[in-house]
Every structure is written in C-alpha cells, then in structure tokens.
C-alpha cells in the first residue's frame, strides 16, 4: 500500500460527501517519553504509537542521536512500557492524537485527522492509502493525481522525506507510523515542546 501524507490546515469539512465513499471513525495516537541521560550521554526518546488500522499492535520507535530503532509488539507492550516509565523520566510525556473520519472510495482509503496535542488543536492531517499496490515508486504519480482532485494545487510534487530512500521497497505498516511521527515531530517543534 503506497501512502502519502500531507499536513495541511484544511477548513471546509462539508465537501466530504464522496459518492460511493463510506465513513467510520478512526484514530492514531502517540505518546512520547523522553528518557534521561545515562552513562552514554545523549537524549533518548521512545515514541509509542497506536494505529486503529492495526488494532492488535503497538508501534514503538526509539530515537537515539541518529539511530532509529523501530519495534512492533502486542498490545500488552503498553504495560511493559508503563513499568519502564518508572525507570525513565517523570517530565514531559506529550500525547498527540490524530482523530477523524475515514472514507473508502474504490481501492483508496482516505483519512482526515484533526491533530490535537493535549486538548489543543494543532492542524489537520490527510492520509491517503492506495491499497492494491505495495511499492511506492509504482503508484506515486497515481496517488498524487488523486489527491490533486480534491486538494487542488496545494499538493506538493515532492516525495515525503521519509519515503525518498524507500520508494522501491515493499511498504509496511511501520512506514505509515514513521510518516505520522515525522509530522507529529513538526507539530511539537512548532510549539517548542520536544
């Protein structure tokens, strides 16, 4: 499934009566836990994300300097993380949530999420997933054309940064999570919270 996500503030909600599309609500939420410096020095952060497309899994991404280690685990991993948070820090556990309706049109899946960070509205993320294809390079143009159909000229012709090196690899659910994390990171930076 090739996916592109675009962060845009997007006002008019009532355009969304696509003939043939149907909706049900979904959400993605994430929690980030910075860990205090240990002997090696450097700031480590663990991001824990849940995606309602994969309800039985928990995604965790550990960032340490330039290293990024992803992990996919069962729902019970949340409990282990809870125990470990006694290890880790106290402060600054920011929670970001992206929640909204989900539409299906033929083989496309469109999700409109409004991003809120601890009750404050930050913006809107639009996620488009083209499910029949597994390699982004094949269908990038196709998705772009589809999105142009309703977002107009606001669509950039640039491939999202995360996907640039991965256009010819098989797409995994973890890639969706990475893209969301990228956008959440941008939201955090814009408010000055890391």
């Amino acid at each position: 499934m090739g996916t592109g996500s675009l962060g845009r503030t997007w006002p008019a909600k009532n355009k969304w009566q696509i003939p043939g599309g149907y909706e049900n609500g979904e959400n993605i939420n994430s929690q980030s836990l910075p860990i205090p410096n240990q002997k090696n020095g450097g700031q480590r952060t663990v991001h824990v994300l849940h995606n309602s497309e994969q309800p039985a899994s928990v995604f965790a991404i550990l960032e340490y300097g330039n290293k990024v280690v992803p992990l996919i685990a069962d729902r019970l991993f949340d409990l282990v993380i809870l125990k470990m948070t006694n290890v880790c820090t106290d402060k600054k556990q920011t929670k970001i949530e992206c929640k909204g309706p989900r539409f299906e049109l033929v083989d496309f899946c469109i999700k409109l999420g409004s991003v809120t960070m601890t009750q404050n509205f930050k913006g809107v993320l639009v996620e488009i997933e083209y499910r029949p294809s597994v390699v982004p390079a094949n269908c990038w143009e196709l998705i772009r054309e589809f999105v142009q159909g309703f977002l107009g000229s606001a669509v950039s012709s640039q491939i999202p940064q995360y996907l640039q090196n991965r256009m010819n690899e098989i797409y995994q659910p973890m890639d969706t999570i990475h893209q969301y994390l990228e956008h959440f990171g941008q939201y955090r930076k814009s408010t000055g919270v890391i």
Partner: protein, 292 residues
Amino acid sequence: MEQLQISLSALKVLRSSVGQVFYSLANGIRAEHGEDNKENKYLLELQELLTTVGTNLRDVEQAVNSLNPPPGPFNLGNTAYLGQETTQDRQALYGTLVNVYKWTDKAHEYSNAAHQILSQNSLKRSSMNSNRAKRNRIQTGAHNFSPPQVDQVMASFDRLYSDMSISITRPFTSNAVIHVTLGHVLKAIIAFKGLMMERVVVKSYNEQLDLWSESRYKVFQRVTDHAHATMLHFYNPNFPELTLKSFFAWFHSFISLFSDSCKRCGLYLHSALPPTWRDPKSLDPYHFECKP
C-alpha cells in the same frame, strides 16, 4: 448358479416337510380324524408325512451332488478383513459405510446439476470432428499435452521475461496450475487443461493466492475480467503455444499497471481506477471506458 438355486429350493422344501412332521406330532390326534379309527388315521397321516420327508431328502442329496465345489478359496477382497475384528463397535464400519454412501450420492447429485447447467451453454471451445475415420485417432488438441511437455513450455516462458516468474504446481493430478508473479505489482494463478487456459485469477502482491477467491481490490477484479476476455480472444486450438505467447506478452504489459497513464485521456485515474485495459495488439494502456 442354476444348480445352486435348485439345491437351495430343494433344501427349503425339505425343511418345510420336516416342519410339518413336527407340527402334526405336536398336535397329536385332532378332531378331523373323526370318531372311529382315530389312531389308525393319525398313524397313516404321519407315515405319509415321513415318506414326503424321505423324497425331499433324496432330492436334496441329488441336487447337492450335482454341485461343483468352488475351485479354490474365495477371493473376499477387502471383506476378508471383516472376519478379523468381530466386535461391531471397534470396526467403525457402519459409520464409514454411511459416509461413503452419502459421498457417492452427493457426487452423483452435483455432477447431474453441473451437467445440466453446463449443457445450457452451447458455446464450446473444443472442436468435434464427426469424420468417422478420425474418430478412432486421438485428436491432438491443446488440451492433450502431457505433463512433461507442459512443464517444458512453462519453463521457456519463465525464462522469457526477467520480471515475470512462473511456478508450476499440480494440485489436481495431471492438470497444471501455475502461479505467475509480475514484479512486485501483482500475482496471478492460472489453471490449465493440458496447454489450454481454463481460468485466471489476478490478485495483489500481498494477498493469499487461491483459485476460488477473488481479489478484494476492484482494480484486480477488473484485470481478472480482462484476462478472461483476452484468453478467449487469443484462443487458437491449432497453435496452443502461439496462444500462450500472445497471452503472456499481453500479461507482461501489466507491469506498468500503476505507473502508466491512459493513452487516450492522459490521466492516471478514471473513476478511481488506473488504466486496466491493454490493447491486444499494441499493448497500450487504456482505461476500460477509454478503450478504442
């Protein structure tokens, strides 16, 4: 067989006459014998019955003597095993017999129904030659190729295109079912009868491949329909390899299913579907609605 029947009936007659003797003995002197000479009449009756028994016995002996003993031990086949385990419960024979009966019944029913439905369609691909001389010779049609020949042909197609790989399985005894993988774009399963294509199912790269279930994506459902149409378009009973060659060339053009735009309208999507139609001659991509 006749002799056996005769001896068996003679035996029956003997049994019934002996039965009569015991019956009259048990009843003793009855009212029918009248008042006078009851005992004499009774004894006469008994004598008659016993002579009948004697004649019948002679008949039986005669019949049995004329029978030939069987040449050797009987070939019981699998029923010989019945003698080994005498407890009915342990044998589980009844259960399996019932299941076998049900199964053959069902097989009959389904094949009758299938025959009825299939005979309604008078369009057939096989050619029936009613020439008497040729009837005795087995016609080499596309469906009469032997498995090693089919394997060879498929291996040559596998080598022909570098991004298309073909693997052969035979889940239904001698008829081949091939799995075709086209790059990372799609997978297809094609069922054959000899070298003649019977059925194609096209699915996405990450779906489970199976002859009976359709793809869950609309685009691949369309491609499956187009594949069936093309399969019939290219059908030629006299040149099965040419049929296959043209079909695979057409199929290979789907490597650009998501990356090419329609030749006529220039767009990638038409009602949210990519160009799924490939012109059989030029292999140009078109939307189904835009096809020339």
